[in-house]
């Protein structure tokens, strides 16, 4: 640590960092725009000026940019010096010259970094009387709104979009005071992480378009800490509500996982919660009924019938466990599709056995060599793709360090680095978005990918098994092996997307041979949790109904048609006398239910998910439900469970492996100085006239028996533990940049540790055996295609598809092949065990011959058991 004197006060600062970083970490109010902890310094805005003195005798000093000055030992600076205060006020006055008089109609108003900084510098009166520069806006698609007049030219957007997220279509145009940030023409922003522009932009140029449709100020929203439900990574989010509807999702900083950024599916997919189609009332035999009557019917049916329960990988641990308790462990069936359950089971076995560590996204960012085996990360686990994008900077960064360029000096680093990229190897059946930063790519059928993996493992450790068939890819495998061996922090990523056990085993072999971290992706937000919960297989459930062992089926938040072929599900639902379903949105399964119970989404219920990293995390309800919607576990729970804590206690007792769920967040008894944690930001009055048109007497603030959060602005002003942070705010910092004040050190972990409990810590290496079931090389079949799943960030996820913005961007279902037989875009008929589908064809020249990739999860391409063989023919 270096001692820096700030206005003659000695402060310990990290000498690897700049003065702005140090000052903010110490809580000094130093305004800034262009700097961002994740983007580094460029010194563009001149707003963070401080005065630097040679020594304690120097009273003259000189003005320097704190973001461009290292926090070297003995540095003496002043923030309060009148000259530098005037300098900063002058800078902001200049930046504000052209800023429009928009705050009342600007969505950023009230959580605007520019507002905060303007107030911080004391600029409160516009002296400029001349004409203001104006721009025309662009239509950037359904997610992000563009209002260029408000721009202060800090360049954060393009630096994030191009340099950090790897986007190409956002750029700076024109010159001097007319610099314009946008696309070359109107159109949807191509990058999957464009939503972060909303938080990166210090003012209202880029705002959340979904929020615009039902706008509420930050101070008016009621927030709760949440966990993203749109993939298995478990990014931390804060969900904001107003007048009973969910208004938006903002990033909840978690140093270990999402850091400052979310993907667009996670940020904008929330709108399914507000969908018109939402189930908000119990339905018994197609007639709306009361909650009490529904519950009575449920109890009666359960008491009289032979009941089985089918869980869900998108329902919380608590809901799955409540169902398991209701029907009994022997009658509980996991809701994961059979082929997927096998893969996830294998992944869990590998993670439990060790010795590979499952990395956090931060670890992935810091990895210097990455091998991706069979995963299209951008579409399966988008936020992980963003982390992998950062990992390719690790090796060049070593060279930069040797040049003694400080790592925070963004331009310096990029100049030193040029186009150098660290090793990233991608082996998948078809092209992926990350190919553009990959060192080498390898395209093959899943079995060949597995063989490739086995070959790499063998190259690393000759005791690892290898097929004796020769392979032309041996050289590449050896090169990858060499890179992995030389790496300081190597990483292998694999998962379920190839629907191949062999690929997972191969990845495990490589990871074990090279002693790397091993990250698996999983398809849904609680796939890992549901797999750990156990239960019989889904086909066993079908069999039980068919055999007459069961006549009543309770289906928890699960569209079975997405899990199994239509015919099987149809016959099962027909055979069962009573079908009881719980879900948020209507789907083909709920249509067949005799009793349908409205289940709360992540915004209306409390629960716990386990991410693909094996991190147990809690999400909390945003507002007290105003109708009969409630958490599935509340519908299913026995009477003696009063609150979430009771469920968790019972679960820890019944399933000791899941007792970490109790520690995922402090219990409902948690208090800070005797007070709960407020869900709403502090304002003049916690009262509202929202409901007085219905009842003039304002209802009492509802109690929350399940968490340590209160449904009001009343509670502790102190920083809550990371798992319970509903929103980021601190005095003078109204924007999301307030997160700086919640961290131990800016850009570092949150004070008190980050949220979530890791379930799998690496077991020591003690002779874990390699997998040795090497598949035979893939050989194309005459007249038949191996069908593999192809995921889409917008479309493959069931829930986000009900969000209008995501739906608009969703990929049209198609089939991708490498064939001369079909023309691009032609209609073909795909015929496989799950049925016949009429789809447009896309020609992917990079794909192995004999393999076809089908959009997964998009109707009608659901319920397919992967991998499968099928026929493709021109549509008549």
């Amino acid at each position: 640590m270096a001692t820096v004197y700030v206005d003659n006060k000695a402060c310990e600062m990290n000498p690897e960092e700049n003065l702005l970083h140090g000052c903010l970490s110490h809580g000094f109010k130093l305004p800034y725009f262009c700097w961002h902890p994740a983007l580094g310094s460029v010194g563009a805005c001149r707003q963070c000026a401080v005065k630097q003195f040679k020594d304690d005798k120097d009273s003259q000093g000189k003005i320097v940019m704190s973001c461009m000055t290292p926090a070297a030992e003995g540095t003496r600076i002043s923030i309060a010096d009148p000259e530098v205060v005037a300098f900063r006020a002058g800078i902001i006055e200049g930046l504000m010259l052209n800023h429009p008089h928009d705050c009342p109609v600007c969505d950023e108003g009230g959580e605007c970094h520019l507002q905060d900084m303007t107030v911080m510098t004391g600029h409160d009166y516009r002296r400029y009387e001349f004409e203001k520069r104006t721009f025309r806006n662009q239509d950037l698609g359904p997610l992000v709104n563009h209002e260029m007049n408000r721009c202060i030219q800090c360049y954060r957007c393009v630096r994030y979009y191009r340099d950090y997220a790897g986007g190409r279509d956002l750029n700076a145009f024109a010159s001097r005071d007319q610099v314009f940030f946008g696309r070359s023409e109107d159109g949807v922003l191509e990058n999957e992480f464009s939503g972060n522009l909303v938080e990166i932009c210090p003012t209202g140029v880029f705002t959340d378009k979904t929020l615009k449709h039902h706008y509420a100020r930050k101070w008016d929203q009621q927030f709760a800490p949440s966990v993203c439900v749109h993939c298995a990574l478990g990014c931390n989010t804060d969900a904001g509500e107003r007048y009973g509807s969910l208004r938006r999702i903002v990033n909840r900083y978690n140093h270990e996982i999402n850091g400052y950024f979310l993907c667009d599916r996670g940020r904008f997919g929330y709108e399914f919660v507000n969908s018109e189609a939402r189930l908000r009332q119990s339905v018994l035999k197609d007639r709306p009924t009361s909650a009490a009557a529904a519950r009575q019917y449920l109890d009666q049916t359960v008491a009289n019938g032979r009941v089985i329960g089918i869980g869900s990988p998108r329902a919380s641990l608590e809901s799955n466990f409540a169902l398991r308790t209701l029907v009994g462990p022997d009658h509980f069936y996991s809701g994961i599709a059979d082929h997927e359950a096998k893969l996830v089971g294998l992944m869990l076995e590998i993670l439990r056995r060790g010795p590979m560590r499952t990395p956090t996204l931060r670890d992935i960012e810091e990895s210097d060599v990455v091998l991706i085996l069979g995963e299209d990360l951008t579409n399966v686990a988008p936020r992980m793709a963003l982390s992998v994008r950062q990992s390719v900077r690790q090796q060049p960064m070593e060279a930069v360090k040797k040049l003694k360029v400080p790592l925070w000096l963004d331009h310096g680093v990029r100049d030193a680095m040029q186009d150098a990229r660290g090793p990233l190897y991608i082996a998948t059946p078809y092209r992926t978005r990350l190919d553009e930063v990959a060192t080498a790519t390898f395209r093959a059928a899943p079995d060949d990918l597995a063989r490739f993996g086995f070959a790499i493992a063998h190259a690393l450790d000759s005791s690892a098994p290898i097929s004796h068939e020769t392979s032309q890819d041996w050289l590449m495998a050896a090169a990858i092996a060499r890179a992995l061996k030389a790496a300081k922090k190597p990483l292998v990523i694999s998962g379920t997307s190839c629907a191949s056990e062999a690929v997972i085993q191969a990845a495990a072999n490589v990871a074990m041979a090279a002693n790397t971290a091993l990250s698996f992706t999983a398809p849904e937000c609680n796939t890992i949790g549901a797999a750990l919960m156990g239960g019989n297989s889904l086909s066993a459930a079908f069999q039980a109904v068919k055999d007459g062992e069961a006549d009543t089926v309770i289906i928890l938040e699960n569209d079975l048609y997405r899990r199994a072929p239509q015919a099987e599900v149809d016959s099962m639902l027909k055979a069962a006398t009573h079908v009881i379903a719980l879900d948020h949105l209507p789907n083909p399964t709920t249509e067949k239910a005799e009793l349908l119970l409205p289940a709360g989404t992540f915004a209306e219920s409390d629960g716990t998910f386990i991410s693909s990293e094996g991190r147990v995390q809690r999400f909390l309800q945003v507002s007290a439900p105003q109708n009969e919607v409630m958490a599935s576990w509340r519908w299913l729970k026995p009477d003696h469970w009063q609150s979430l804590d009771d469920v968790l206690r019972a679960m820890a007792k019944a399933l000791p492996e899941l007792d970490a769920a109790c520690d995922a967040a402090p219990s409902s008894k948690f208090r800070i100085a005797g007070a709960k944690i407020p869900r709403s930001p502090l304002r003049e009055s916690g009262r509202t006239a929202a409901l007085v048109n219905i009842n003039i007497s304002e209802p009492k603030t509802p109690d929350d028996p399940d968490s340590a959060l209160s449904f009001s602005m009343e509670g502790t002003p102190d920083q809550p533990p990371a798992a319970l942070i509903p929103f980021f705010w601190s005095p003078n910092w109204n924007s999301i940049q307030a997160v700086n004040t919640y961290q131990k050190e800016v850009g570092g972990p949150l004070r008190g540790g980050d949220a979530g409990v890791r379930l799998f810590e690496p077991a020591p290496r003690n002779g874990q055996a390699y997998f040795s079931a090497i598949p035979r090389a893939f050989s194309p079949r005459q007249g038949a295609w191996l069908l593999v799943p192809m995921y889409h960030i917008f479309g493959s996820d069931e829930l986000s598809l009900a969000a209008p913005g995501i739906r608009e961007l969703a990929t049209k279902p198609h089939v991708a092949v490498n064939s001369d037989e079909f023309a691009e875009g032609a209609e073909v008929e795909v015929n496989c065990a799950a049925g016949t589908f009429r789809l447009p064809v896309m020609i992917h020249r990079e794909m192995p011959v004999g393999v076809a990739a089908l959009s997964v999860g998009l109707s009608p391409l659901v319920g397919i058991q992967w991998p499968t063989w099928g026929k493709i023919a021109r549509a008549k």
């Binding site: 705050c103 009342p104 009230g110 104006t134 806006n137 007319q178």
Partner: protein, 171 residues
């Protein structure tokens, strides 16, 4: 001791002084134009709703008696979808008027809004909106703001230059 007696005497002398009470219903007091009474929503000089649903009045309100929801017309002009004031809770402090950036919400010299039922004191937008600019004639927020609305393109507001041609690199 003496001071106590003197006080009692002075107070007693008040028996012969004029009463200052205003006998209200018969005798109406003068209310200044800036008197803080019943709240109204005013209109632009061109007749459009002035309120842009910025929510500042609602957050400034110390008793939380204002509720509104923003919405936008198809041309981007923002206005309140509903605007509700619960006068049974209003304390007529005038903070809402002070917070209002568009002069939309104004307090008027009318306090005679008594009702027998509290629910009759809940005023909706239809009850609040008047057909005029109130105390601030001539002011039109949209002519000063930078956003584009129906009838006002970019660069047409007060003190605005024509939109930049971003395709030119000329200095």
């Amino acid at each position: 001791m003496l001071s106590i007696l003197r006080t009692i005497w002075y107070v007693f002398l008040h028996s012969f002084q004029k009463r200052i009470t205003v006998q209200y219903p018969e005798q109406k007091p003068y209310l200044a134009p800036r008197y803080r009474g019943r709240i109204i929503l005013s209109r632009d000089p061109d007749g459009g709703e002035r309120c842009v649903a910025c929510n500042l009045c609602a957050v400034a309100c110390p008793v939380g008696c204002i509720a509104l929801q923003a919405t936008e017309d198809k041309n981007g002009r923002r206005y309140p979808e509903f605007f509700r004031i619960n006068f049974s809770r209003c304390i007529f402090c005038g903070y809402c008027e002070e917070a209002c950036p568009t002069y939309a919400i104004q307090l008027t010299p009318d306090f005679e809004i008594g009702e027998f039922h509290r629910k009759n004191l809940v005023y909706e937008k239809e009850d609040l909106l008047i057909n005029g600019p109130g105390k601030h004639p001539g002011y039109n927020f949209w002519q000063i703001a930078g956003v584009k609305i129906g009838g006002k393109d970019k660069g047409e507001a007060a003190h605005e230059a024509a939109p930049v041609d971003v395709h030119t690199l000329l200095p």
